[in-house]
Structures are given as structure tokens and as C-alpha cells.
Symmetry: C2
Subunit: 191 residues, 2 copies
């Protein structure tokens, strides 16, 4: 499938755009490819766009004072990634975004997104539902973190992103789950 087709199918799950509407929206997306480990956003950067992932895997993360990495989110095909706090509040980035693997994306500028939302009501509907889904995903993540059971956190992650099992190095999965590599290793082997 082309990037255009992947985006169209993704949007079609929520709203129907006719050809003219979709082509207009699509005209604002710019293809951008990244290499494994390439940095996309660094803390302190100005953030002007978000990325729709066509293939590969991105991650948003922070590194704390003890040099420990915490992963906020993985983004694989049809996921969106950016620092949304910076993007929506016109602030500097407070999380990093980089590439777990080589990745192809479509990049959308925030100002273009707002413009198309005004012009095409259905695009705004789509983006409202996308945001709702993101909210629900994060709510599940918080409940999972609060419940603090490494096994169920691991199982939830593999259910949510089965492709991660092969795509992502184990130490990054441990950083997402907030467990040590030894704990993760036990979970893998008792699978």
C-alpha cells in the first residue's frame, strides 16, 4: 500500500472523506523518512508538526537525572507521534522523539492541520476521535502503571502492539514498562 492509501484507510475508519476532500487534506502531508536511532525532536526544540507513521517504529521518551530512560509511547504503522504538549500549547518540547527502526512517515504542520479543520468539518471530526482514542490509550497506561504488576503490564503491551515483540529491542520494552531487564527476561521466558 502507498502512504496515501494507508492514511486514507486510517481516516476511513472514523469518517468518510470524498476524493476531493481527502486529496486536499493529503496535499498538506509531506513524506519524511528517518534512519534507525535518528533524532526527530529533542527536549527544548520548537515543535511545528506531527508524524503519521507508515512503517517502522518511533518512540517518545525522557531520560531522568540518573540517566534512566522512560518511554512514553511507541508509534508503529498508523500511529501518530509528536510532543503534543509542545505542539498544542506552542511551548518548547518536553519529550524526545526518535527512531527505534528505519521509518517512513507523513509529516503534517500544526498550522495546516488547523486550517484544514476549519475548512473541512469531517477532518475535525476525525481528529477529535483520534484525540479521544489517544486519551483512552493513556488512561489505560496510567491504570496499568498504578496497578504496578509487571506481568499484566507486559501482557497489555503485547496485546496493544503485538508487532513490538520482534521490532523493538528488549531493553526498550523494559524502559516502557518501567521494569528492569532481568524482570522483563523472566516475563519473556515464562510466556
Amino acid at each position: 500500500m502507498t502512504g496515501r492509501e494507508i492514511l486514507r484507510q486510517h481516516i476511513n475508519k472514523t469518517v468518510h472523506l470524498n476524493d476531493e476532500q481527502f486529496d486536499y487534506f493529503f496535499s498538506f502531508f509531506k513524506p519524511v523518512s528517518f534512519k534507525k536511532k535518528q533524532s526527530i525532536i529533542n527536549i527544548g526544540d520548537t515543535v511545528e508538526c506531527e508524524y503519521f507513521v507508515l512503517n517502522g517504529c518511533l518512540k517518545t521518551f525522557v531520560v531522568n537525572a540518573e540517566q534512566k530512560m522512560h518511554i512514553l509511547q511507541f508509534a508503529t504503522q498508523t500511529w501518530w507521534a509528536s510532543d503534543y504538549n509542545a505542539l498544542h500549547n506552542y511551548m518548547k518540547a518536553t519529550v524526545n522523539l526518535d527512531c527505534v527502526s528505519d521509518a517512513d512517515t507523513l509529516c503534517l504542520l500544526a498550522e495546516d492541520r488547523e486550517r484544514v479543520c476549519k475548512e473541512i468539518h469531517e477532518v475535525e471530526t476525525f481528529l477529535r476521535w483520534r484525540s479521544n482514542k489517544g486519551y483512552i490509550g493513556l488512561q489505560k497506561r496510567i491504570l496499568s502503571l498504578l496497578n504496578n504488576d509487571a506481568r499484566s503490564r507486559y501482557e497489555e503491551l503485547m496485546l496493544q502492539y503485538p508487532e513490538l515483540y520482534n521490532l523493538v529491542p528488549k531493553h526498550l520494552i523494559a524502559a516502557y514498562l518501567g521494569v528492569s531487564r532481568e524482570t522483563l527476561s523472566r516475563l519473556y521466558h515464562s510466556k
Copy 2:
């Protein structure tokens, strides 16, 4: 301020609705008052509406197998509360919602929200931004939980909701932060 005025001011921070548009949207809200400790949503319930808080404080929470309560969110004036996973995905509730104090709210049915979003583009814009803000709030909460430092979690909470200091019993604040009451007590006294 009346409930109508509180809602109007809240919406006005994001979009401008003219009198006719606002009155139409407002006509779908139903005032509902609750007593302290009253239950609003229980896990397993069908969820049909969300609540805009006019005064008082609600909380969404789960209780784990060891009878330990985890608080997902407090909702005070101008916050919205529901089980959004249930509401958006037409599933049964997976979190509980109840009252930390007596509370007055305005209740909006999901089907009415969707109807008004279709009819008034600006209402959809408002709700998209509300969802974005919610997403960003949860993202901050996750980073705070992952960073796992009780003091900074406590300080962030007090910055986000200064009114909680007087409004919410200490054991509920501990349940939100994911710390013991003893740890919380040390944080209070070293404030």
C-alpha cells in the same frame, strides 16, 4: 456565577459560540447534584453521559485485588469526568466515578454531544481541544509516574489543582500519587 455562565466562560476560552449556538448546546445539559461519597459510575455499568463539574470534586478510580485504591483523576470546577473508554467505545465501565465532596454538575449525553458536534462545527472544535488538553494532562501524569519521585509528583499535583489541598482528604491524595500515607505526611510537613 450560574452553571450556564461557568460553562460559557469555559467554552469561550477555546471557541466563540454566538448566543443562539450556545443556548442550543446548553439546552442538552441537565443539572445533576450529588452528595459526598455518592457513586455515579460503577465498574460494569453502561455509560451514557459525561459530567461538567460546577462545584465540588469528583474522582475516577479503581480498586485492585488487594483492595488498594488507585485514583485516575480528580475533577473540580470546569473539569469533565466520565469513563471515556466506556463512553466512546460503547463498552461497560472499567473505572468507578464518585464524589469526594458534595458536587453540582451538568450532565451531557454522548448521543447529544455527537448530534451538536455535527450541527455546530465550533462545538466540535471546542471538544477536539478539550480532548487534546486531556491527552496532554495524562501524558504529564505518565511521565510523573514513570519518574517515580514522590516529592515532584506531589508538587505537580498541587500546582495542577491547588484547591485539592483543602478539598480532598489526605488518604485520597496518597492514592492518587501512588504513595503511602506516611510518605505523603512527610511531604506535607516538609512543605
